[in-house]
């Protein structure tokens, strides 16, 4: 039996991952110097590890945050808004941001969980999942109808980005719901993320949106602006 057989794959992993104590590390190092097979196994694992790290090092975030000066401002603004929420009011701003992403909760439940019922809300929809879009629009409708009955002056912005942009396409099955909501409530807006639209265009897909949809520069810009203005942020 050569040395290679006595060293397990897990030990080789720990060796290349620097997880061994000094004694075990030295032992494997010493054995590898006289065992070609063991050296090959170590080199193979190490090469694979390096290849994986190399492959993903090529990936960089392509969010608007780093694209240009505007994006840097966007992130700065968003971060500042979050900090305002985290650390309390600054310069009179009292944002009530809510990161609501529990999939089992409806929009209404998410709002109900907040300490004080918000009057201004921005709801982000990133998914193309019909069940989630339908549920979000139903909840939005209920919310708008109830606030109207109670004479509450709420404002709601529904912003779609990424795959969620499909909701606002002219051929979308939600076109009638969106049209009805806009016709019956002047306190709701449907917004489309311009950055997301551009990404679709780069793939050769020109999105034609429902007439009620307004295109804004980027979802992050809009959310950051609304957070700064004290709106609540929900995400479906």
């Amino acid at each position: 039996m050569n040395n290679s057989d006595t060293i397990s794959d897990e030990q080789i992993n720990a060796f290349i991952d620097n997880e061994l104590d000094a004694d075990d590390y030295a032992r494997i190092l010493r054995l590898s110097q006289s065992d070609v097979l063991l050296t090959q196994r170590i080199d193979e694992r190490r090469n694979q590890k390096e290849m994986l790290a190399f492959a993903y090092k090529q990936k960089k975030s392509n969010t608007p945050f780093t694209d240009d000066d505007n994006s840097a401002r966007t992130w700065k603004s968003l971060a500042a808004a979050v900090l305002v929420f985290v650390f309390g009011g600054v310069a009179g701003i009292t944002g009530t941001m809510q990161i609501a992403n529990n999939p089992s909760q409806s929009l209404i439940e998410k709002i109900a969980l907040q300490e004080a019922a918000p009057e201004k809300m921005i709801l982000q929809i990133s998914s193309n999942d019909p069940a989630r879009i339908k549920a979000a629009l139903n909840d939005a409708e209920l919310l708008l109808r109830q606030s109207k009955l109670k004479n509450q002056n709420i404002q709601l912005e529904v912003i779609a980005n990424a795959d969620g942009l499909n909701m606002l396409r002219i051929e979308s099955p939600y076109q009638k719901t969106i049209s009805s909501l806009s016709a019956n409530h002047d306190n709701v807006r449907f917004l489309a993320c311009g950055t997301g639209m551009s990404k679709f265009k780069q793939k050769g897909i020109n999105l034609t949106l429902v007439p009620q949809a307004e295109v804004v520069s980027a979802v992050t810009t809009q959310v950051a602006m609304r957070l700064n203005q004290g709106w609540s942020y929900l995400r479906e």
């Binding site: 897990e10 090092k57 900090l83 998914s127 990424a162």
Partner: protein, 185 residues
């Protein structure tokens, strides 16, 4: 150079550190979902949560485990949310590289992404955190809320499976990468 003029100088180091980790988070998020848009979303949500629940910076390594734990939580939320409803088509890894060297590099990337995308979820998470995020076994265990022994066994299975797939791929032309939601082999 400070990234931003944070309102509280005492916490500026923590905030700057969080922001500086964006691309690192993105790489791991991408290795889990193989979708640029979703990876961006996951990173955005991770940073928002980290800023919201921010704690003082003790050292970079301590922050690492905590930050990647948030990313893992966001990812697991996404998996639960999309369960039974996700229907994403396969997509190709495109590149306009035209020199031989660039082409070769693209081939390698495609093969690695493909092999990773076919790993079981739990194995992919572990190997990403160790090889891409460079977390220790203990930090990875904390981030995923599993014992260190589980991390070691998942890592080993992942590396064996990757080796087999990459060896096989070297003998085949590049194919499709399975993005998040597509079924495994």
């Amino acid at each position: 150079m400070a990234l931003f003029n944070w309102p509280y100088s005492q916490s500026s180091q923590t905030k700057a550190y969080l922001i500086s980790q964006r691309n690192r988070l993105f790489r791991v998020a991408y290795s889990w979902c193989h979708s640029d848009a979703l990876a961006d979303d996951l990173v955005q949500e991770t940073l928002l949560r980290a800023l919201k629940y921010g704690k003082p910076l003790r050292n970079d390594k301590a922050m690492d485990g905590w930050l990647f734990r948030i990313l893992a939580n966001c990812w697991h939320d996404e998996l639960r949310r999309r369960h039974d409803t996700q229907d994403i088509n396969d997509y190709e890894f495109h590149s306009s590289d035209n020199t031989e060297e660039q082409h070769y590099r693209t081939e390698i990337l495609t093969q690695v992404y493909q092999a990773m995308s076919k790993l079981p979820e739990a194995q992919r998470e572990v190997v990403s955190l160790i090889d891409i995020a460079e977390l220790s076994y203990e930090e990875t265990a904390k981030a995923l809320d599993v014992p260190v022994g589980t991390v070691m066994s998942r890592l080993n299975r992942a590396r064996l499976a990757l080796r087999d797939r990459l060896e096989k791929k070297c003998r085949q032309p590049a194919g499709k990468i399975l993005p998040f939601g597509a079924s495994n082999e």
